[in-house]
């Protein structure tokens, strides 16, 4: 479903200075599977999520990224979203003046329009929003407030999952979704993510710590260091990293 081959990429700052962050990353996530990417700070984890979703300043320099057989880097960010690519942000942005409900409905209808589908009806949207909010224990009043403005870190993460469950993307990238969550919130969020597991859907879970993977069981675990995948294994690899730290695995690879 998502297939990355020998990917190299730069991060370009406002003064056009480029720094290479990905150095030849290869990765395959088939439909129906959940893959975790773990790695030390500065390994390129967030760079990968921004590169895949098309943020300015993250420039592919070589290799290929195919999503459902299509060249990902030829699409604008909004077109990638309409194809079903969803990033749960490590630091969700505040959108002043735009209530959560308005925002999600605008996004949903924009995606539908891009796919040539009809807009969702107001009653259908409301019904769905109520059901998802209930499942995530989100207060109805919160959905009337401007998106993420004045929300706590945990509330913002919960709202990311809310958007994800509303938009039902085909491929999920979770970037450090566990950061800022207490253990109860983490459970609620993980339940939401697990509810989206489906044979036609792929997921990439980016995390520094293993604890999220207790709740979202990955099929495969990849270790990202210095811009490429240096080791791939099953869920036991995450446990080993938790116990031994990254140093052991890094030393092996070197």
């Amino acid at each position: 479903m998502l297939s990355l081959k020998d990917l190299t990429a730069d991060v370009v700052d406002d003064d056009e200075n480029a720094t290479q962050i990905l150095t030849g990353l290869s990765l395959d996530v088939p439909a129906g599977e959940v893959h975790a990417i773990m790695g030390p700070n500065g390994a390129g984890k967030s760079t990968l999520s921004y590169l895949l979703t098309g943020r300015d300043g993250y420039e592919p320099t070589g290799g290929t990224a195919m999503f459902d057989g299509e060249e990902l880097f030829e699409l604008e960010p909004e077109a990638r979203a309409a194809k079903g690519l969803f990033l749960s942000f490590q630091y969700p942005l505040e959108i002043p003046g735009v209530p959560v409900m308005t925002f999600v409905r605008t996004a949903m209808n924009a995606q539908r329009k891009a796919r040539g589908e009809d807009e969702i009806s107001a009653p259908d949207f409301l019904k769905k929003a109520r059901a998802v909010a209930k499942q995530l224990k989100i207060d109805a009043d919160m959905l009337k407030r401007p998106l993420n403005v004045g929300f706590s870190g945990g509330e913002k993460k919960r709202l990311e999952i809310f958007q994800m469950m509303m938009l039902e993307p085909r491929f999920l990238i979770l970037d450090e979704t566990d950061s800022g969550l207490d253990i109860d919130a983490l459970k609620v969020v993980a339940e939401g993510v697990n509810a989206l597991r489906a044979p036609e859907r792929g997921m990439l879970v980016i995390t520094h710590y293993q604890r999220l993977l207790d709740h979202i069981q990955p099929d495969k675990v990849h270790v990202l260091a210095a811009g490429k995948i240096i080791k791939t294994g099953g869920p036991d690899l995450a446990l080993r990293l938790e116990k031994e730290g990254y140093d052991g695995v890094l030393a092996e690879a070197a």
Binding site: L87, T106, Q111
Partner: protein
């Protein structure tokens, strides 16, 4: 006429127009207040970013004026257009007006030469005095529309304890429109003033207002300006009695080739009065926004609360915003502050919205609309507020 020696062709035209009018002492006094200075230009204090003398060269004539977004609002309409003045069809309770034969004096003409010019050239019946007693149920609309040179002078008096909402439309399809307005808000009265301005790239418009706010009175102004070749909304407000409250909000949205100037001058001459001001702007490449705000707090004006904020967004490279916020404070027990920023849309927020599937242009329009809408929050009429929000969104959706 000492200015005649160096007159521009436009100044000569203005003098000819004056000479053709029936003369009287008030008109002469107003005209002299203008003629002492002539048309202001960029070397004149307060006109540096709005060079009227240059802008008046080569104006268009006779294009259709932009549409009036308030035309379906249920209100009595005072219409000023190329055919002169048309009063409302029926007289709302509590409202009287005189379109008088004599030129009404424009008080303080010497300080506001361009308003004085409007008063001097406002031929009968383009000079109107509207008097309001009691609380009006519906807004009154003043519509200024046309495509030739035109000059108007309107005075609005809200008597003690009265309340009114004046909705102004300044719509221009060409020419030089110059309007002088005087607002007298007597003790314990309230006046809401909503201003909509839209012109073309070949029109010039000045709207100069003077407001006196009485004891415990409220004057709430909200503007939405789309600019023109040169457009200036200028408001001079003074508190002579304590307990007054003023709001001077506004927004400007500017396309390539459009200019909008918001100039306000508030004088706190007595204590215990409050001024709140929030001006928002959004400017595309080739647009030019100007904000000049001044709060003067006199030595005796203790307990003054005056807050000024101007925030502008440059929607594209090549937009221009000039701002001059000024506080001149002689009292020591006051709360006064000003804030002024000019910047671009938050790139991170834009990416976030696009990642959710919202196309870039829509994301920009949504973010800008919500940025601008803050300047409409103090409009005390939901229908009018909604029209402002819709007009702003319509422009943003069409031009981004």
């Amino acid at each position: 006429m000492n200015a005649l020696a160096t007159s521009t062709p436009e100044e000569v035209q203005i003098a000819e127009r004056y000479n053709a009018l029936r003369n009287d002492a008030r008109r002469a006094r107003a005209f002299e207040a203008y003629a002492d200075h002539g048309l202001p230009h960029r070397r004149v204090e307060g006109w540096r970013w709005s060079d009227l003398r240059v802008a008046l060269k080569g104006l268009g004539r006779g294009e259709a004026a932009p549409k009036d977004p308030f035309q379906n609002v249920d209100a009595a309409v005072f219409r000023f257009d190329d055919n002169g003045f048309t009063p409302p069809k029926s007289r709302p309770a509590g409202v009287r007006w005189i379109s008088q034969l004599e030129t009404p004096a424009f008080g303080g003409a010497e300080e506001l030469p361009m308003a004085a010019l409007a008063a001097a050239l406002a031929d009968d019946p383009s000079a109107v005095v509207i008097e309001i007693g009691g609380e009006l149920a519906a807004p009154l609309r003043l519509v200024f529309e046309g495509s030739g040179d035109r000059f108007h002078h309107v005075a609005v008096i809200v008597r003690q304890g009265g309340a009114a909402h004046i909705v102004e439309s300044h719509l221009s399809g060409g020419g030089f429109a110059n309007t002088a307005l005087e607002f007298e808000v007597e003790d314990g009265a309230r006046l809401d003033r909503t201003i909509y301005q839209a012109g073309v790239s070949e029109s010039v418009g000045l709207v100069t207002a003077k407001a006196h706010v009485g004891a415990g009175s409220n004057f709430t102004q909200s503007a939405l300006a789309f600019g023109s070749k040169l457009s200036r909304l200028e408001t001079h407000l003074s508190f002579q009695k304590s307990g007054g409250v003023a709001v001077l909000d506004g927004a400007y949205l500017l396309d390539d080739g459009f200019h909008a100037d918001t100039t306000t001058h508030v004088r706190h001459m007595v204590g215990h009065c409050e001024t709140q001001q929030l001006i928002k702007g959004a400017v595309k490449s080739g647009g030019k926004g100007v904000f000049q705000g001044k709060f003067l707090v006199a030595r005796d004006a203790q307990k003054t609360d005056a807050q000024m904020a101007h925030h502008a967004l440059l929607l594209e490279d090549g937009g221009e915003v000039n701002a001059k916020p000024e506080l001149e404070i002689y009292a020591d027990d006051v709360q006064c502050a000003h804030g002024n920023t000019t910047g671009a849309l938050d790139a991170d927020a834009l990416f976030y919205m696009r990642q959710r599937g919202i196309p870039e242009a829509d994301a920009k329009a949504i973010l800008t609309a919500s940025f601008v809408a803050e300047a409409f929050e103090r409009i005390d009429n939901d229908e009018v507020k909604e029209i402002f929000e819709q007009e702003a969104s319509r422009w943003l959706m069409a031009s981004l």
